[in-house]
Symmetry: C2
Subunit: 327 residues, 2 copies
């Protein structure tokens, strides 16, 4: 089974649960708002990771369903709040919550999903000790997610270093992947060595995924990615390609030219192509791709110790998928 097939199958298992935890209750406006993102679907990568990690360590995947739902709610809570902060009007074609409802309701819908996630964890039908371990992973992740988003907000429009880029991606993407994997494995009865291995896997997978996403933003096919070419350039998004270019381009004149295009919302198509050409010429695009490939190799190497299973196969396939996709 490839990663997409597995995700689809896993979604079918998890979607009814995702739609079952938020009961009708007053004020319904808040309940409706909090349901919008989680009920709308999506790749469901994080819940699939919870379930797969549970299965990979020999646990009963059914036990991990509540945690999978909780992790998805947390992911969605952060999306709702991020959309408020970024002032985005749409997500996956839907109106964002602060646009469809209002800003206070969006903030509260995020808070409510956050609270519900921890209510679900508190009620999990697993031993108290196991619940506590899963709780620790998830709480740490949410703390780190807030740190990562604060970096994103304060660094917007600024030129950052590669180290800052890596730390932001770790906080914004890897930590919740890791909480999903380790939390699911904890529910499955994992030992410390397995938890450590899964943390390494998920951390590297998150890094590789985001790096490849950035790469697709420049090297990808617009018709497939749906991202307009040069969108990241015009926004001044500091990807690994950009930080590499800033740190390795020796020709000061070309460097100034590059900085002049980066983050200019009105940059012409020609200027954007020129910026890409500069990144290409200094080897930044290839560097970005290679770093993504390296992270994925690292992710896979972390879980070689696991016994063969459908779940391990999925985790490897998911890693491969991260750098073998055009969307």
């Amino acid at each position: 089974m490839n990663a997409e097939e597995y995700l689809k199958k896993s979604s079918e298992e998890i979607d009814p649960a995702i739609r079952s935890y938020i009961e009708d209750e007053e004020p319904m406006r808040l309940i409706d708002a909090s349901r919008q993102y989680p009920y709308a679907g999506g790749k469901r990568m994080r819940p699939a990771m919870v379930m797969a990690a549970c299965g990979a360590v020999g646990g009963n995947k059914k036990d991990a369903v509540p945690l999978a739902v909780a992790v998805e709610y947390i992911h969605n809570f952060t999306l709702i709040h991020d959309d408020v902060m970024d002032g985005d009007d749409r997500r996956r074609g839907m109106l964002t919550i602060h646009v469809a409802y209002d800003e206070p309701t969006a903030i509260l819908a995020g808070d409510a999903l956050f609270a519900k996630a921890f209510q679900i964890i508190a009620e999990m039908d697993v031993p108290d000790k196991t619940m506590r371990l899963a709780l620790k992973y998830v709480t740490k992740a949410v703390w780190d997610l807030a740190r990562g988003q604060e970096y994103d907000v304060t660094n917007e429009g600024k030129l950052i270093t590669e180290a800052q880029y890596l730390e932001t991606v770790r906080l914004k993407t890897s930590v919740l992947f890791a909480a999903a994997a380790c939390g699911g494995a904890a529910v499955g009865g994992a030992d410390d060595k397995q938890l450590k291995a899964l943390e390494g896997y998920a951390d590297a997978l998150g890094m590789g995924f985001q790096m490849y996403d950035d790469y697709l933003g420049v090297a990808g096919d617009t018709a497939k990615t749906g991202k307009s070419v040069g969108n990241d350039i015009r926004k001044g998004k500091c990807t690994l390609m950009v930080t590499y270019t800033l740190e390795n381009l020796e020709d000061k004149k070309v460097l100034e030219e590059f900085k002049g295009i980066l983050g200019n919302p009105n940059a012409s198509e020609e200027a954007v192509r020129r910026a890409e050409e500069i990144m290409e010429s200094v080897g930044a695009v290839e560097y970005n791709r290679r770093r993504a490939v390296e992270e994925i190799a690292k992710a896979k190497s972390c879980i070689t110790c696991f016994k063969n299973s459908d779940e391990k196969e999925f985790m490897i396939a998911l890693a491969d998928f991260a750098i073998d996709r055009d969307v």
Copy 2:
């Protein structure tokens, strides 16, 4: 010891802990923002309630310190988000977080405090089962707080019923008091009967406290309360006095006159006094005061079953204080 003395003593115990859980970490801007409210002090009623409930059921109050901190962080997280939603510039003389920093940082500082509260609970040095019980109380309270704030936001400027008023106060005030009391008691090893009793106590105390606050807004001495007379009237705040007046005033003409003043930000001093006179004449001010007194009596009756202790004495004194203050 009266309630204020007990609160002061309890603050001295709990304040160093409140200031110890948020370590220096990057990005410091977020850390700073998240520290502002909890570090600034305040009455610390909720943490005092956690500690007192733990002691009242025979527990070791030191065990309850982390939960007391967590509950205070949760209270502060809701204040930060409420201030964003209400667009308030100041709180207790300080600039609000979204003004002193920026709105995204305020949203994130709230989220971060929320996450930290649950991290602290996850790490509590109590049996897993006890931790889980405290966690359940707190998560339920946060869910309800979001519901209460959504009512507040959507009902702003609207005329609501007494039942709606009571439900909003329960959700916005009583549920966190109850989580503090029951969570603290759980840490102290309370049995089900004690938990039930404390839930009743805290619930009624929260109701009485808020009702008396509203009463002071009209009947209180402005010089002491710091609230300008008629502020609640001009804002159209639906207190128990207002809902009683709306539901019991038979003279339609006077009712229309009353509605015309309520929520009019430009109402003259004379008009505000007229609105108060109308509430007074229909018996609404006295009704509000009496309902507060009844809630406090109910609160105290809930804990008669507890053995005498300093903590029980404080809980009774706190209840008495709720309706015997001018601030």
